[in-house]
């Protein structure tokens, strides 16, 4: 009891450690594996990302032949970004990906 009392009393005057999340945000560090984004200019439609994806989250868009990622299946491992021969896929720092409609959870 006595050893923790000073800390407890000090905490009353200290700023709380909690971050009021939706109102304040902590900037994620460099290299966070967030939403994968495809640079369509660079993409050569090789389909390698489709093959390496461990969870079959990526399919090639039938018209444009560019990859589309289902964010509800994606596990954000970053294998596609690593495998891409022209570095067209990047893992962005975007992490707030919740949507009401499953059909919108797609990154193209």
């Amino acid at each position: 009891m006595p050893r923790i009392l000073p800390e407890v009393l000090r905490n009353v005057l200290r700023k709380p450690a909690t971050v009021k999340y939706p109102y304040e945000r902590i900037e994620p560090p460099e290299g966070l594996r967030g939403k994968p984004v495809v640079d369509k200019e660079k993409c050569i439609s090789c389909g390698l990302c489709v093959r390496v994806c461990p969870n079959q989250a990526i399919t090639l868009n039938e018209e444009t032949k560019k990859p589309r990622t289902s964010l509800s299946r994606c596990i954000f491992c970053g294998e596609c970004a690593d495998a891409c021969p022209v570095k067209a896929i990047t893992m962005t720092k975007e992490y707030e990906l919740a949507v009401y409609d499953k059909a919108q959870a797609i990154s193209e």
Binding site: V8, P29, E30, D82
Partner: protein, 383 residues
Amino acid sequence: MTFVVPIGPQHPALLEPEHFRFEVRGEEIIDVKIRLGYMHRGIERGLMDRTYYQGLYLAERICGICSHAHNLCFSQTVERLAGVEIPDRARYIRTIVAELERIHSHLLWAGVAAHEIGFITLFMLFWRDREHVQDLLEMISGNRCYYSMCAIGGTRRDMRPEHLPKIDRGLKVLEKATKHYVSVATSDRTILARCENIGVLTKQDARNFCAVGPHARASGVDVDMRRDDPYAAYAEIPFGVVTQSEGDVFARVVVRLREVLEAIGIIRHALDKMPTGPIRTRVRAKIPPNEATSRVEAPRGELLHFGISNGTEKPERWRVRPPTYANIPSLVPMFVGGTIAEIPIVLASIDPCMCCTDRVTIVDVTTGKSRILTMEELRRMAR
């Protein structure tokens, strides 16, 4: 008069769904029955249906807390199957992440344990300081939970030079905090009253029931896979195996907190001695027939992966034995003779991870269909 107190599958003392039936007389427990299996996800079968490269990510998702341990153990097993040596730098990076994860897991556990004995302040403070480790892991690996650091044949990311001062600063904060917590936990009379001589597991019982990890070490069993079966870079790093002889809940608290300090030392040493060079060698997707076993000292104890390859890119059989599964038989001697008030802390003291334990199931992984109980069945179960 004896009556049965059901604990679980949903209960505030359990963070994960398991079912315990305690037969009690007054406050005293006279018997306990354990039923597992509320979280079966078919992972062993699932691993057999996936290629090694896909399985790596499924194995990681066996557990949310010791994800790196499973990740590491899986890739080690595959490397053994293929007979590949990984680069030195990769071994050191794996070690550093494994130890950071151990700190994260032990602080998380300490918070849960404080909550179980009603010490909410300590619970909040432990979890506040755990954030520092999580921030470090996020910075190194790019994710707070699923680090995905291991690739088959090395690691996927390198440590950047600009990370080192940040890790150093983070470790200093953690070291100071942990030392403070050790002094609080070992002197606080209310904590001692709740933890000393509670849930005692003798050395004899710990060995007989094949207990593993900090749980066994707190009973005086000197076992640590990092030393007994060295993997990654542990053979080259000096560290002490923390043991306590008392075997009660308090000994488990002390063992875990001291292991955090030990882990900080390991990380510092590894950062200091880290060789330069490549971080990954290529491993072919098809692995010739072979069988291999790999063991890792996960934060909760010995984790075992056993794989059999058959020349294709998928394993013939994959077996996972997570640490909590090994510790469950030793719960019974710890409970019997205790009181209801001791259930939460004794259960928490083995750091149970039911997610790990229930790996096998019948739920179809591809459709995810689950069974719906009829009202009649529900009523029968409620009775």
